[in-house]
Symmetry: C2
Subunit: 452 residues, 2 copies
Amino acid sequence: MPPPCDLLVHDALILTLEPEAAPLFPGFVAVSGGRIREVGVRDPDRPLPEAREYLDAAGLLVLPGLVNTHCHAPMVWFRGLADDLSLKDWLTRLIFPAEGRWLTPQRVYLGARLAAAELIRAGITTVADGYFHEEEVRRALAEAGLRAVVAQGVVDFPAPGVPDPKENLRVAREFMDAGADEPEGLLTSTLFCHSPYTCGPETLTAAKDLTRARGLPFFIHLAETQGEVAECRAKTGLTPARYLDRLGLLDEATVAVHAVWLEPEEVELLALRGVKVSHCPTSNCKLGSGVAPVPELLAAGVTVGLGTDGAASHNRLDLFSDMALAARLHKVHRQDPTVLPAAQAVALATREGARVLGLEHRVGTLTPGKAADLICLDLQQPHLVPLYDPYSHLVYAAGAADVRHVLVNGRWLMKDRRLLTLPWPELASRVRAEARDLAAFLAGLASGPDYL
Amino acid sequence: MPPPCDLLVHDALILTLEPEAAPLFPGFVAVSGGRIREVGVRDPDRPLPEAREYLDAAGLLVLPGLVNTHCHAPMVWFRGLADDLSLKDWLTRLIFPAEGRWLTPQRVYLGARLAAAELIRAGITTVADGYFHEEEVRRALAEAGLRAVVAQGVVDFPAPGVPDPKENLRVAREFMDAGADEPEGLLTSTLFCHSPYTCGPETLTAAKDLTRARGLPFFIHLAETQGEVAECRAKTGLTPARYLDRLGLLDEATVAVHAVWLEPEEVELLALRGVKVSHCPTSNCKLGSGVAPVPELLAAGVTVGLGTDGAASHNRLDLFSDMALAARLHKVHRQDPTVLPAAQAVALATREGARVLGLEHRVGTLTPGKAADLICLDLQQPHLVPLYDPYSHLVYAAGAADVRHVLVNGRWLMKDRRLLTLPWPELASRVRAEARDLAAFLAGLASGPDYL
């Protein structure tokens, strides 16, 4: 007799997200030591594995936790603060002043805690984050129990916590070193070069060297807008992807975020180099950036994951809306309803996202040996009845609010929609008080709107 | 002293949706006899109106109930049954056989009850529906307490309940006459010509005459796909809008649904005739139909509302996702983040939707004298904190699940997310049993998947 497992989730409808795997029903997942020990269909002639804790998941859909490949968690401060503006107005009138003069390490931490609450409630169990004062984000996400790839932002101009840009790589290196020996394997600490237009070639190559020496992912915004491509051409004679390739930055550990304006040859180039892509459809739509060539990238064999981006450009840190938007946007863009079918959209948000972050050995599918990161959705609701195809429901009908329980590394972060690792609603009260201060700071007013 | 009102909703953040009106906080709405008696900001020096029932709405956002200008309620049976297919495959392989041989009046009724549950849970208080056996939809929506414009479908080929197309207008007329004297003013009964390609010119003009004589709205799918436009040109020498205009069908009571493929002169034509447009962005995206020229229609002065369409093409009957998609889609389509700002998207889903349906004297804004149709959203959630701009939250961050209470005509249809006019979860069990039968019918199997 094997020893009892820690947790048995049983009688669920289970999607393992292993390629081509059929849904399991009535399915069970056995968890031990933070890992998945067994996944299967209940056999009426054989007792279920014994466990110290049982979750009767009848009426629930169980799948791997969602993997958010691009986020700026502390930007929840700017959620809904300045929508429907041009990127330039938005940055210069609001975001830069707020980041430069209002955002303190304490506020980065508090914002990241709010973001963590939101991510967990939306069923996101792994998040790749990039910002400044990233050690505060790391602390907040670690306390919340999330799995994260945290990346210190690098730009060649003064930034929060890095007033002298000559220090940007020293700060990033210290951040990476401090995070190198995280014991639980939940956190990866790396860096994030903002973009080819905000980092010079020396910074880019030195930053990539830092991550390469440590075997870590390297993040960079790439070809988000047409303007960026034109500017890069004017300055370097090359498109952004070709420019990064000339600098030797494109390899299997590089994550190109956005990748909207790519020529067909650049799609091939990314595929050839093994570059990963973080697709952020909601952000790209709201900012009017453009439609990334995702069907082409997938056809070329590029690994693509989904990202929410920060809450200033995707006001909700919710990959359900990105799955839905990705599936709908590429269909209408091609005028072809067969593009990016539901099961593929779910794979991008789970298995493929894990591959983007180099975490495919650990998460992304419900597979024995991998970490026990899973989410349970409540199917007993009017918009999820009847149920013919669980992938369809996940993409076209479900939402973040349907996530009922969230498990990361074998630990419950949410049960029955109650956050177990974050103080709610106390957190909301603190956020509101600070947000009033931000609104007043920006408006030059004595106080912000009463209803904040 | 005035007599006490029936209901006082107080201490809410209120959006009246009257043009240019600022948010009210702390706001109240007084309801009497199913109508709004007073809306205002609480005055500390003056007591609130007396009421027989009080709702403390602190922490809630109150706005007019959403108006869904296009739905096929019974198509919830086909939710997720056949996604990611071409329109032709979808119709011929699944929808037509299911509608023709499986759908009974009892199943239309049961489906419409499920749809009603979903609509209420998503904060939709008025729905324009068009289908066959529409008397069953009318019965279901009336029992659920929803406000509705129900329209009997008209096509020139055999349809559910109308095996002989020569009877289509007689059936429609009888449907309209039977609904003409509905006492509470909640229901409007009219007809819905499916399209210029499924109805001949005699049917179209006779149908329009029927609605014109009664002062009722006339619905028609228009220019949904490029193929439809090409076919209409080949048959009539005219684009669909010009063809309908030649038949005399375009006037202020005509609601053109979809209106995707319009030439600039046709936009002007719709504006000149006062035609209303129901914009269904989710459906248009999922079917790969195209992007309607909504910014152009609005600039030309056309009244535009939002529609979910049926659950086969928008798997969730949820206008929050249509608000979000409309705001995002038109931005990326124009590469201009200032297109269709949040407040305008909310107006389309409320005030403008009411105008599309000719119900602007009754619903669409929180205005004394209008019907008490309102919804309350819970703002105390991680994804809705902080709050700088309630319109932004409604469009870019909130979802159907944030709707906590729903009031129609002064009657609560949902309180604390509990449905008060529909039996849940009993309804779900009945739907599941029938859906198994449908899956078996379509697959020619003995039984459908176990997890239905």
